[in-house]
């Protein structure tokens, strides 16, 4: 197990290295000049050239890469062209909103979708099963921003129950923190509820057809125990895999939700950085996202050992 963990952790290094090189090169090849953007609309070509020089963008690409990579090895992601702040500091400011949003969304999605999926499998082909499948299709189909606007209109503007927008840090009080996250998390979780519920239903349905379920029922075990301890436990591997992928996607994929609800998270930082061609920031956040993907995948793999005793590393 420890050898497996060490091997997997070591394997992240070449992955991150490849991501670093690719991101660096792709950014330099895409159109758009950070210096022209920074200089403003009325700046002239000479001023833009001076800014380009100050940013070091006039140097050959291998030299630029060497400087950036050298700093990266010492843990320095560089300074944002756009904000003139350390990229690590910028990411640090944005981590809390995004992690909070991702955590609450995942919590909500798991708490709702897993029981729904189990129930649908248990009541296979019933009205409840069909309703849940219908909801799943709807959950996948309705764009996040449409749902967000509808929820804001009804819950915030009509009922006045929750704020329309914004984010409060947890240090400023738990209740305002939670209030500002309920609607965004609910909005974002719908698609994950739909996805996890479908996978749970399919996995549990398959498990319910197994011999050991028949045996458990024949032994006279209560149906709840059969469902949870036997069917769900054996169906857990694909469900956890999907949840893991969902968490990884959430960390980098909350742009629309963050925009509509004005949450200053990593998604918004990424979009701003891309629009401003803020190369150091884009490189930093993409490296972070890659690391998050690798880490979540590793945690999912490790969880298999606990979920299925047959799996050994």
């Amino acid at each position: 197990m420890y050898t497996f963990l060490a091997r997997r952790l070591l394997s992240t290094i070449p992955v991150l290295l490849i991501v670093a090189v690719l991101v660096f090169l792709l950014l330099r090849l895409t159109p758009g000049d950070p210096a022209a953007i920074l200089a403003g609309d009325a700046a002239n070509t000479e001023q833009i050239a001076r800014i380009r020089e100050n940013l070091g963008l006039d140097r050959p690409i291998p030299v630029q890469f060497g400087i950036w990579f050298g700093n990266l090895l010492s843990g320095d992601l560089g300074e944002s062209f756009y904000y003139k702040q350390k990229v690590t500091a910028l990411i640090g400011q944005r981590l809390e909103p995004t992690i909070s949003l991702a955590a609450l969304t995942t919590l909500f999605a798991v708490l709702v979708s897993v029981p729904l999926g189990v129930l649908a499998a248990w009541r296979f082909d019933s009205w409840f099963d069909r309703a849940l499948m219908g909801f799943s299709v709807m959950g996948f189909s309705v764009p996040v921003f449409v749902l967000a606007y509808l929820l804001i209109w009804f819950v915030s503007l009509k009922l006045g129950l929750l704020p329309v927008q914004g984010y409060h840090r947890i240090a400023d009080g738990f209740w305002p923190y939670l209030q500002h996250l309920i609607l965004p998390s609910f909005t974002l979780s719908i698609i994950y509820v739909a996805l996890i519920a479908r996978v749970t239903r399919a996995s549990v349905l398959e498990a319910l057809g197994e011999d050991y379920i028949r045996t458990a029922r024949a032994k006279g075990l209560p149906e709840l125990r059969v469902l949870v301890r036997h069917a769900l436990a054996n169906a857990a591997v694909p469900i956890v895999t999907v949840i893991g992928i969902g968490v990884a996607l959430l960390i980098g994929g909350v742009v629309v939700t963050e925009s509509v609800y004005a949450i200053p998270g990593l998604g918004r930082l990424t979009v701003d950085a891309v629009l401003a061609r803020d190369f150091p920031t884009i490189q930093g956040v993409i490296l972070l996202f890659s690391f998050a993907y690798v880490l979540v995948n590793l945690l999912v793999d490790v969880s298999y050992v606990f979920l299925d005793p047959r799996i050994r590393y």
Binding site: A39, L157, V164, L275
Partner: protein, 529 residues
């Protein structure tokens, strides 16, 4: 039992709503919450011409002169000034009581260092410094400007209201290389920047400067008394979705929307809790800019054909849509400002498509496709290129309309390369009125060819000579006459095409009072009742 449940649910909902209200009440009557038109990234208003940086500058810095709502230059930090008979020596005395946020007095040395840095970045500042022989500060509260020859725009330059504004900084800050951003945000303006609360992309916070001594005159434009009646101003930099902005304003979570989308204008106007305050009489102007280096726009006749084809109304109708927010304007200098006139605009104002077709035919246009850049992500101008492409096709041009994000366009327009090496033919943009209201500030009147300041690189020696004459002229009547000649020449050679003007509405909660006619987005004199 059911009744108990209903009562419990109602109590929960009430508690929830009350909690929500309590959270909202955090923004008390002394905090003004504003949603600016864009994100604030660069905190040095001299280093960039970005309007957000300029607005940030107005919060924390003061200016020597201001421009009032009638576009007259009025003293601001300056108490009095004299001009020698030969117009070559200007002596200024600063108002008593001027103090930086760190408690140090504002001196003539600070002013000189600030002007020198500004002169290295701003177009009008650079032009002014071509006249400046030297500056000195004989006493702490005075400074003098010695000119090599008479200059007709000293006060206009020192009081210029838009980017780059000559903000006065402490000498130690102003001595920063003009091509490096400052890191010390000490000003002497009506607000103090809370650097520790600044979170890029999230919020910027300003506190009332308790030591600021406003002028006695009522506020007007960037001139007059800068009285502050709130303790704190918060710029919400995260709220950038247009619909979300409106929702937040309607719910009372923010107090002012600086630039709501045109499509929300009617809804905002009808909301009984909101107001659309009148805050500017100087509008924004749309323009189409040619790249004079690339064929066929190196040929003035081809540019004239475009001028003839581009009647303004279709652009304004498509882009703004709300009739009361736009108007046609025959002037290249913002309509409603002192130098505006229709001189030379007949080619455009009396235009018709037949004339454009004839002009194009006579030009010898060989069918080269016109590479027209269209920004897809900038709602304020994104519809203009479609109208331009259609009108040009009707005139007989072949048009290659290329969609890209604004930042790609900004990068590409800086390239002087031919089309096959990533160059361009035309783009469309919008200017705030005070950036183009005279031939010195207006970058399209710099026609030095490849050496000229702004993208498009028009070349015309005659226009440059006339512009130099304008710079020296001190008599207002003669200046106006010269401006007319300059504009007529610009239309004749087709520097660019003015495409009409619009006003950007602002929306605010009804409890915000004290709005006055300004020249941009500045936030003094406002009360939250």
């Amino acid at each position: 039992m059911n009744m108990q449940r209903i009562a419990a649910a109602a109590a929960f909902a009430a508690a929830f709503a009350a909690g929500n209200g309590a959270a909202l009440a955090q923004g008390d009557a002394k905090v003004l919450r504003i949603v600016p038109h864009s994100n604030l990234a660069i905190l040095d208003p001299i280093w960039t011409t970005a309007y957000m940086s300029r607005n940030h500058g107005y919060m924390i810095y003061d200016t020597l002169f201001g421009t009032d709502e009638k576009n007259q230059i009025k003293p601001q930090m300056v108490e009095s000034w004299t001009e020698s008979q030969d117009h070559r020596l200007w002596s200024f005395k600063l108002r008593p009581g001027l103090e930086f946020h760190d408690g140090k007095p504002v001196t003539g040395e600070d002013v000189i260092a600030s002007l020198q840095r500004w002169g290295k970045r701003d177009a009008m500042g650079s032009a002014l410094f071509t006249f400046v022989d030297r500056m000195d500060s004989p006493t702490p509260d005075t400074f003098r400007v010695f000119l090599r020859e008479q200059c007709g725009f000293v006060l206009e330059a020192l009081g210029k209201p838009s980017s780059n504004v000559p903000f006065i900084m402490p000498k130690r800050v102003a001595e920063t290389d003009a091509f490096k951003q400052i890191e010390d945000y000490t000003g002497s303006g009506p607000y103090i920047f809370k650097k520790d609360e600044f979170k890029p992309g999230d919020k910027a916070v300003y506190l009332r400067n308790p030591k600021y001594v406003p002028r006695k005159e009522p506020p007007s434009g960037t001139a007059g008394g800068k009285n502050v009646y709130v303790e704190r101003v918060e710029w919400n930099l995260a709220l950038r979705d247009a619909q979300a902005q409106v929702n937040a304003l309607q719910k009372g979570e923010v107090d002012i929307l600086e630039a709501p989308a045109f499509e929300h204008y009617e809804a905002l106007k009808k909301d009984p809790n909101l107001q659309i305050p009148k805050y500017s009489v100087v509008n924004l102007q749309y323009m189409a800019r040619f790249n004079h280096l690339n064929k066929p726009f190196d040929n003035p006749k081809v540019r004239q054909a475009v001028l003839a084809a581009f009647s303004q109304e279709p652009f304004l109708k498509a882009q703004v849509g709300v009739k009361e927010l736009y108007h046609t304007c025959p002037s290249m200098f913002t309509c409603g400002t002192p130098l505006a006139s229709p001189a030379g605009s007949e080619i455009q104002s009396k235009s018709n498509m037949k004339k454009a077709q004839e002009l194009l035919k006579a030009s010898g246009y060989d069918g080269t496709p016109i590479l027209l850049m269209k920004p897809t992500d900038l709602a304020s101008i994104q519809k203009l290129p479609d109208v331009a492409a259609q009108l040009m096709r009707q005139a007989g041009f072949k048009v290659d309309l290329q969609a890209m994000d604004w930042q790609t366009l900004v990068g590409r327009r800086a390239k002087k390369d031919p089309i096959d090496k990533g160059g361009w033919h035309m783009f469309l943009t919008a200017w705030q009125g005070h950036d183009i209201w005279n031939p010195i500030a207006n970058p399209t009147f710099d026609t030095r060819g490849e050496q000229s300041g702004w993208f498009g690189w028009a070349k015309d020696d005659k226009l440059m000579e006339m512009r130099a004459q304008f710079m020296r002229e001190t008599d207002p009547a003669k200046k106006r006459k010269l401006a007319e000649s300059l504009q007529a020449r610009a239309f004749e050679i087709g520097t660019h095409v003015p495409l009409g003007e619009y006003s950007q509405p602002m929306a605010a909660r009804k409890n915000i009072t004290g709005f006055f006619i300004t020249n941009g987005n500045i936030y003094w004199n406002l009360k939250k009742n």
